[in-house]
Each structure stands twice: as C-alpha cells, then as structure tokens.
C-alpha cells in the first residue's frame, strides 16, 4: 500500500486535480478532488503518512473542494465544498480552505457513518486502555489530547470517537488535531518538536492550526481499542488537578448529549451507549498543568507509579 508521501508532489496534484486522491483515514476512504493549492499543501504536509488507495478503488465519501467561479473570485476568492452536485455548506474565504477541508472530512463521517455511535470528543489510548474525552468546544479537550499524543499516547481521534455498534470497540480515525487560539502556543511551548500546520486566522472558531498526527497512530488504523474511562476535561487557570467521579446515569446522559447520531440510531444507539457506559468509569477532570494531567492519565491507564 502506498502512502501520500510516496506519491510525490506532482502526482499528488495530478490526482487531486483529476480523478481524485483516494485517501484512507481510519476505516474510511475519501475521494478528494481539489484545485486549491492550500489543500494540496495541507495534505502534503499533514497527511504524508496516510495510505492511498489505487485510483479505481471504492470511496466512502466524496470531498470536492474547489475555487469559486464567477466574477467575485477576482477580489474575494472562495472555497466551495461540493458533494456530488450539492453544496451543504456556504463557501468560505479561500484562505480558510484548509480548516474547511478538515471540517468537511468530519461532516462526511458524522452524517453518514451510522455503523458507529459517533461521539463528539477526542479519544486516546495507552496500554490498551482508551480514554474518551467528550466535550463542548472551549473545554480544552483538543489541547489535552494534543499534549497526550505528544507524550506517547496513541491518537485515535481528536473530534470523532467512533464506537463500533457490532462489538463496542473504539475504531481509530487518527487525523490532525485542531488547535485553536491560545492552545497553539501552549502546544508549541509544551512540545517544541511537534509538527504544526500554518495557523489560519479569522475563522468562525478564531485562529486554527492543525497538529500532525503521530505516524505510529496513523499506521495503527486497523487496531481498535476498548474504552475504559470517559473523562470530561475542564481547563481552569491555576486550578489543582482533580478527578471527580460521574455517576453512571449522568454519564449516559452527558455522552448522549455529545453524540452526533444518538437520536438517528434510536434503540440501537441506546444499547450501544449503555454498553459503553457500563464498560467505562466516568470522571470530571479539572486541570491547569499539562504535565500533571498526563501523569494522572498514565495512572488511569495503569502505566507508571
């Protein structure tokens, strides 16, 4: 199986501009077509370790991101997402094409992959123990997730926790971690070697930069893990590191609130979520120091002192 990095820049551009790049991320293959240089750059720098399927293969999703046409492109160029002739989103300024690509990739999964219960949250694994971090934006979930994967935890996903309904296993979908505003410098300071994409200012979520997923996490896309803990993180300046148990009933409701397709799945979603909650301990987690947070996560996974 060849990787994006093996293709070389010219072949990558040719596929993106022509029949599509069949990009594998976790269990999915997306047919990516784009005539936008920022998209080719982003894939080249952040997706080099990802497998590429042969052009004739089967794609789960169609991702076509193209420059807007029409007169306005001369003074206000835009990026448009087109899914087989439909445009589910309004176009964005061309400068935001890269974050748009990442959002579109998330949208495809959360709207269609109903084989999984899809929880909006990060999930990381160490020592066979997966920990789910469901959280609304602003809770510091991505920062914590980025810090953990910079210290040896395996990234399963930063945004979309996929719980396979057949067996309750969490299926990896390791993609770049989306860092916002202040977290970008926090992670730069915490892990100076970390590979970050170019920050994009002015999006609806502020300035965004993506942290490249560790190559090991990407390569292990075929190894699901079992979730053992569900942790609701909350960053609070100056706070002591505290872990407070969340009772099962509350845990169920809070994860349901954060699931994209809980209501779509109906009874099957209820069963799947009930099994997940049975398997896991729930915790509120308040922190201000990343090192302390990581030490505590290591202990949860049965690693270290």
């Amino acid at each position: 199986m060849s990787l994006v990095a093996d293709l070389g820049r010219a072949e990558l551009a040719r596929r993106l501009g022509g029949p599509g790049l069949l990009l594998r991320t976790g269990p999915f293959v997306s047919r990516v077509q784009s005539n936008i240089a920022l998209v080719a750059d982003g894939i080249g720098s952040l997706y080099g370790d990802y497998p590429v399927e042969e052009p004739g293969g089967f794609a789960d999703f169609q991702v076509r991101l193209v420059r807007s046409t029409g007169l306005r492109r001369w003074w206000h160029p835009q990026a448009c997402f087109d899914y087989d002739g439909r445009e589910p989103f309004a176009p964005l300024p061309l400068a935001q094409a890269w974050p748009m690509f990442e959002w579109v990739m998330n949208w495809c999964v959360s709207n269609r992959a109903h084989r999984y219960l899809i929880v909006h949250g990060a999930v990381v694994e160490r020592n066979g123990c997966a920990i789910v971090l469901p959280a609304p934006p602003g809770s510091g979930k991505s920062t914590l997730c980025a810090a953990l994967v910079c210290r040896g935890w395996r990234l399963l996903s930063d945004e979309l926790t996929l719980v396979r309904r057949d067996d309750g296993m969490v299926v990896p979908l390791a993609r770049p971690v989306s860092l916002k505003n202040a977290s970008i410098d926090v992670i730069r300071g915490f892990a100076p070697d970390a590979l970050l994409g170019k920050p994009v200012p002015g999006t609806t979520k502020g300035t965004i930069a993506h942290l490249k997923a560790p190559p090991d996490s990407v390569a292990r896309f075929g190894e699901p893990a079992r979730a053992r803990h569900i942790v609701f993180p909350r960053y609070q300046a100056g706070a002591a590191t505290t872990l407070t148990p969340v009772p099962k009933g509350q845990l169920f409701m809070r994860v349901a609130e954060n699931a994209f397709n809980y209501f779509v799945l109906g009874p099957a979603g209820f069963d799947c979520l009930a099994d997940l909650v049975d398997d896991c301990d729930g915790h509120e987690f308040c922190y201000s120091q990343l090192d302390e947070a990581i030490a505590l996560f290591d202990r949860l996974a049965g690693v270290g002192p």
């Binding site: 293969g57 089967f58 789960d60």
Partner: protein, 366 residues
C-alpha cells in the same frame, strides 16, 4: 428516443438483479447516484426484497445499512407525528386521510419503504379547514414564517393551507382540501376522493387512518409529478408510480377501471404521462388494454416529442454524471409549465413577478 435509462441507477431500479454484476467502482457510482436522487434508503429495501442484499460487498453494504438507519428513524418519527395529528384532530370527527409519502409509509406499501418525505400531507373537506386549522394551532402547530403575500397566495388560490410547523417538534404538515389549486383548469372533485378513501387495515397499528383508494393514490402521485413544477425528486417520484403499479397489479379492477377513474377526476393527461414514462423508464408491466385506453389522452402533434425531451431530462438522477447542460433549461421550462397548469396566464404572470421582484425585497427588509 432519449431515455434516462442511460444511468446505472435507473438500470438497477428497473432490474435490481443488475447489481450482481457490479464491481466496487460500480457500487460507488450506484451509491452516489442514489444519494443524489434521494433514493439511498429505497435501494436497500429494494435489494432486500429481491434477496440481493446478502451478496453486496461489505463496504457498499455498510452504506446501504446506514441509509436504512436513517429511514427507520424517519419512519418512527412519521408514525409518531401521524398519531399526534390524529389525536389533535380527534374532536372534529373527521377521518384522517393521508396523502403521498405519509400514506405509503403508514399503509406499509412497498413504495413507502425507505422513502423519506419532508412533511405530512393530509386531505380534509374544504368547509372544515377553519376548524382543522384552529385545532392544529391549539396543539402547537403554527404557520411557517410566511409574509402577507404568501398567506394570500395559499388561502385564495391554492389547494392547501400555508404549510404549518410544530413549534416544539419542528415537523411540518400540509393541510389540503383538494389535490390541485383552485386556479387550475382541471379540478378533480375532492368529494370523490374522500368518498373512496380506504381505512388502513388495523394490523398496521394505525387505527382510523385512511389513504386514498389505490387508483386515486396512483392518479394523485401522477398529477403531483406531472402537473407540479419541481423535479428535483423527479426520479424518486416516478419510481413511486412504478412501485404503486407493481403493488396494485393484483388489486382486482385496478387496471380495468383506471382510465375511467382518471376521466371522472379530470386526470387523464397526467395518467397518460405516468404510464408512458414508467413503462419507458422501468419497463413496468402495464396491461396493453390500459395503455391503449389511455393513449387518446396524450398530447398531439409536436407537443409529444417535446414533452418526452423535457420529462426524460428532468427525470434523470440529479447527479453530475447523469446530467447534461440542457437539464437546467428542461427543469426551468417544466417549472414554468407546472405553474401555468396551476394558474391562468395573467395570474401566473402576476405571481411570478411578485416572487421575482417583490418577495426578495420584503425578505431583505425583514
């Protein structure tokens, strides 16, 4: 003759066994075309009915099953909503007559399996409209953000109340008193439709709920497609007609009396189109006698090849692979024609003028 049968999706809808010969890229094409035509979930039930689902390769199967999940949810919500509407209108002592998608789903018809619809359509007597509207408002339904012009458009000229949405649940209901607008040149008598309505058998778990009788259901589906102006779901709607025809084939007297019934309801022209295009597109086995009886009601002279060209373009799946640059023009022509058939020319000119120039301005000001 030009035919939408050039698309893989149409081939499979007509002959489901065709999927046995698909490779993986073929499956990708089929699923993409099916999604664009909004028949993804219809496809999974169709393949299941023909015993073909077990042989579908795992990846496309996953997508088909995901479409089924969405359809099952849709069916649960629709069933719940119909139950609520029935109890909201309980005190009026009217039979609850469902039309189109909701009717197919609640009656458990093959055309209802996997078919997604955006609102629940019901038919009530015109002189009960006020009562029905009041009862619905009392139970949390409200007119969906229309301006004064829209209100007047619906109440004076149309065959339905302005669409209503439930304030808490967000689902939509269309209350019809007829199946064509007041302003249309043909006026199928709603009393005939209501008198022939049939209760859905109790074992479907939906007591006191009615659908139109089989012939009327077919004719309503035909008039909706061929006299309406919107073809973005054209292929799906044409497939409804094919499925209804296959299903009612065994209903005694369905075919024999169909043309006479269409005549009584002034719907012979849409019946002609329906039979013409389902047989050409899906090879529906319509009895020769029925086709012959409907033949005199078609358009004459040059109009027929023109309508063929327009309809067959507009009925192709809305997928970039299946479209040509004439499709936009065909759809626009049919949009204007659909309105033409619903309103006399002067009124239509006034309506289109208002929609084009005045409505957007009010919307901007708001």
């Amino acid at each position: 003759m030009m035919s939408p049968a050039s698309s893989l999706l149409v081939e499979v809808l007509a002959t489901p066994g065709r999927v046995r010969f698909l490779d993986l890229p073929g499956w990708e094409r089929l699923l993409r075309q099916a999604n664009s035509a909004n028949v993804g979930a219809i496809l999974v039930y169709l393949l299941e009915e023909y015993g073909l689902l077990e042989d579908v390769p795992p990846k496309p199967r996953e997508h088909l099953e995901a479409a089924r999940i969405v359809a099952l949810r849709h069916r649960r919500l629709a069933g719940y909503e119909v139950g609520r509407i029935r109890s909201d209108l309980d005190s009026l002592g009217l039979p609850l007559i469902l039309l189109k998608g909701a009717a197919y789903a609640m009656a458990g018809l093959p055309s209802g399996r996997g078919r997604l619809f955006s609102d629940i359509d019901i038919l009530v007597p015109k002189d009960s409209l006020d009562q029905v509207e009041r009862a619905l408002i009392l139970h949390g339904w409200a007119s969906a953000h229309h301006d004064a012009y829209d209100e007047r458009y619906y109440r004076t000229w149309m065959h339905e109340l302005p669409p209503m949405v439930h304030l808490r649940r967000g689902n939509a209901i269309d209350v019809h008193h007829a199946i064509l607008p007041e302003t249309a040149p043909v006026r199928p008598d709603p009393a005939l439709l209501r008198a022939a309505a049939r209760a859905i058998p109790g074992e479907q778990g939906a007591p006191d709920i009615y659908t139109l009788c089989p012939q009327d259901m077919f004719l309503h589906s035909a008039v909706h497609l061929f006299f309406g102006g919107e073809f973005d779901q054209g292929l799906r709607d044409l497939f409804d007609l094919h499925r209804l025809a296959l299903h009612f084939d065994t209903e005694p007297g369905f075919w024999d009396g169909l043309v006479a019934r269409a005549d009584a309801l002034e719907l012979t022209r849409p019946l002609f189109y329906a039979l013409r295009y389902i047989t050409r597109t899906f090879g529906t086995p319509v009895p020769a006698a029925t086709l012959a009886a409907a033949a005199p009601f078609g358009p004459t002279g040059l109009l027929l090849p023109l309508m063929d060209a327009l309809f067959l373009r507009a009925l192709a799946p809305l997928h970039p692979e299946c479209t040509t640059r004439f499709d936009g023009a065909a759809r626009f022509t049919l949009y204007v024609r659909g309105n033409w058939l619903r309103m006399p020319p002067l009124l239509l000119a006034r309506h289109l003028f208002h929609k084009a120039f005045l409505s957007p301005r009010t919307a901007e000001a708001a």
